[in-house]
Amino acid sequence: MSAKFAGRSLGMRMTRREDSAGRRAALAVTILIIMLVIGLASAMPAPADEPSGIASTALAQAALEVDAGPPLNNTYGSYAELNATVIATIEPEDDLNYTWSFIDNATTVTRYGKLVNYVFTETGVYAVDLTVTDMFSNTATDSTTVTVTPEADAGTSRQFREDNPVTLIYLNASGSSSNPEIVTYVWTFTYDGAPQTLTGKNASFDFKRPNTYNITLTVTDSNGMVGTDYVIVRVLAKPLWVVDHWIVSFIGLPILIIAALMIYNKWRKGSGIITSTDIEKAKLQYKGIRKNWTIFRSNRLGFAGFIVLIIFGAMAIFAPWISTVQNPDDVQEPNIIVDGVAIQLNPLPPSTSKSIYTGITHYWGTDHKGLDIYSMTMYGARASLIVGIVATAISVLLGTAIGLAAGYFGRVTDEVLMRVTDFFLVLPWFPLMIVMMAILGQKFIWVVVVIGITSWPSTARVVRSQVLTVKERQFIVRAKCVGATDGHIIKTHILPNVLPLIFANTVLLIAIAIFSEAFLDFFGLGDPTVISWGAMLESAYDFDAFLKGAWWWIGAPGAAIVLMVLSFSLVGYAIDDVLNPKLRRR
């Protein structure tokens, strides 16, 4: 920020210097011309009864010229800025006497100074006269007009999606003001190709078609003065299903493709889609899972973590139904101050009674904008879980692929891939994430991708070491002797032996991914349009929540992050327990 700021201040200084230089040059030229003329005049044979002083006075008078500025347009209640520009003078312009006079509210008002700010008490068109006097008592006059129009306020712009349950938009012009009173309010815009006109201070219209509506509010007061303002209502088209559900598509599509390939493979081999071997396999797997589940349940902490995670999952899925506000970003409690006395100032503490302004019960209070903390916390679970799971999926895929290749092929491949892994391992990854977010831009998908591709090296190392031990086992050597290809060995022998062990690591990675997401959001590098716990904490930090005593503002998202990361860690350790029999003994 300071670089921009420095540049700007540098720019300002430069223009100012140019300005004064220009003015000084003009002054110098003027004086030079005057002296030249005086010199010529004095060199000329002067008439006996005319002293040269009179000539110089006449010249000075000619040199005083002033401009009162262009006609001004002001809204009611704002300062009209009257600024005199001196075109020619022989005196420093700050020493001149400036007098502005005009009639406001049937009385003559006089103001002195080169720059005058004045608030007109009523709307209308005013003629303003400027008189400038210099030390020789020479005067110059100019005049300008000020048009004061009523202040129109069309309210805040809004944006929502076509499939929003409520598309009826209330237009509210109660922020408009004028003296004398406003008599008509007219809203005009184009809807569906046809011009639409609404009248009244409060108007409503049902916007069903996606488009950007530029709504112009025209107010007229009893003086006949007209003020305008505009408000933008943006109705977004419902995006394609794939775009709207990109996470489902990203995960669902690969699963579908893999399933289709498996079925195709079976079909090609000529066996039925479900053979008796498959049933046997499924039975065995079911038995194994039941056994593991019993062990998992015996780990009380892990089981508790599991239940907390289920609750968080439910929170994420059912957020719109369990939260008190449909779109937590849209419904705000207003800050209300009347005559300098605060009737209501955000953040609001937790309460069980309905707000009289929005009709929402803020069980967990609000933040500085008056947004409901409870609903935001519910919605925040979505961002955390999605980032945690998808980013980890990316990093596990990358890490497993690299670890497998390095461990299985060994030699040069191993060397090169491990150097790459080491390289990524020593890179300072928090700064790297920050830089990558700065390069890519603040989109939610980039948050996911950046976390995914900065956290794979640990997976690669774990997978590699596992592959190294599995590779030396007898059955691999035998498979090689029979002539199995590398792909086949990796697919049927190595992967099934390695995957269970990286599973626990994966769950722990999720915890780190959630942590990273909160970090990025906290430092303002996340997607500003996504509700997340990190972003909530960021606003709490920026607006001094604790100094305002707003513990709920930090407490809710903070506790949510800690609980979620803790649960993932506990579940991860428990799974480790299940899959590593050696650990269970202790």
């Binding site: 830089v435 915890a511 604790f546 990361v565 803790l566």
Partner: protein, 332 residues
């Protein structure tokens, strides 16, 4: 494979990785969006000025020439000229103060965290299954799961904001029980130390508690593993005292994973702790990095990246060597 071959090989790896980091560092900041001259050239600057600045920063040369120049610069410890915080100043001398600040904060914090974490982990593992273990591990797990910035934020708001026991920000400047402290440059040396210590308490506490949790968890895990080994049973059967078993038989073996993590942590010391430093507005390297990102000050970022990466690289090398010394099996 003997020690020397192994060491040589490690050194070769380090050099290769170093080169990779240098190259990555060079190209990463060349693909960053935005014209660097726009930051450097004042608004309304002429084309000549722009050309001169491009020339000064070697930006008018072909890419390979820039690359060679960059490598040369790095080896002469010349990190170029800042376009942000220290406008148009040499970066290297400006990095000294943040470096000292960071070393103080993260250095003290890391040392404390390793020591306390190992103690806590050892205590919990030795009394595993008892309430002491449960409480200790619950403490460690909670702080391990808590984002550092959140804990730092709570500390800042409670102890500096609400209770006002400690200063709100900065690495120095205020003194305890002194309403209007003199300028830092006018302070006597004990006063300077006191001022620094006063400002360090909260950040170090936040950092230590967060990092300590990790060490406690690793130590406990590793030690519980070791305590189930047969040689511990043997030692017990021999009638050795608990103290001897823990000190000479269990801890020696259980320290290995701790050493690895400790080495990486020591490597991170130079990186500073971005979260703690930002929350406490503590001008260390992490804070500078954050500033540089916001100001798009690429030269500073490049320098910081390099310093951090090299520190981790060296710490890893040292960890490998210590590992070889502690665990002779590694050599084979």
């Amino acid at each position: 494979m003997d020690m020397r071959t192994l060491l040589t090989r490690k050194l070769v790896y380090v050099v290769i990785t170093l080169w990779a980091i240098l190259t990555f560092n060079f190209f990463l900041f060349r693909i960053m969006p935005g014209d660097p001259t726009r930051v450097l050239v004042p608004r309304g600057g002429s084309q000549e000025l722009r050309d001169a600045i491009m020339h000064r920063f070697y930006l008018d040369r072909p890419l390979w020439d820039q690359y060679v120049h960059y490598i040369y610069q790095v080896f002469t410890l010349d990190f170029g000229i800042s376009s942000g915080e220290w406008k148009l100043q040499e970066i290297t001398p400006n990095l000294v103060e943040p470096l000292i600040n960071t070393l103080l904060l993260v250095g003290i914090g890391t040392a404390l965290a390793i020591f306390l974490g190992v103690m806590l982990g050892r205590y919990a593992a030795w009394r595993r299954g008892t309430p002491a273990d449960t409480v200790g591990m619950a403490f460690a797990l909670t702080f391990y799961s808590m984002p550092t910035f959140l804990f730092a934020l709570v500390m800042l708001m409670v102890f500096a904001g609400q209770l006002q026991w400690f200063p709100l920000k900065g690495p120095y400047g205020e003194l305890p029980f002194v309403a209007n402290p003199p300028d830092y440059t006018d302070m006597s040396i004990p006063e300077k130390l006191l001022s620094r210590g006063y400002h360090l308490v909260l950040p170090v506490l936040a950092f230590t508690v967060e990092v300590m949790a990790e060490f406690a968890l690793i130590m406990r895990n590793s030690l519980t593993d070791v305590l189930t080994e047969d040689y511990i049973v043997t030692a017990r059967a021999k009638g050795l005292s608990n103290k001897t078993i823990l000190k000479d038989h269990a801890m020696r073996n259980a320290m290995l994973p701790v050493v690895t993590v400790a080495a990486i942590s020591v490597g991170w010391v130079l990186g500073g702790d971005i979260m703690v430093e930002i929350v406490f507005s503590y001008k260390g390297l992490g804070y500078i990095a954050w500033d540089a990102v916001n100001l798009r000050d690429f030269c500073v970022l490049q320098a910081l990246f390099l310093i951090m990466a090299i520190a981790v690289l060296i710490a890893n090398l040292v960890a490998d060597i210590i590992y070889m010394y502690l665990d002779p099996r590694v050599k084979i």
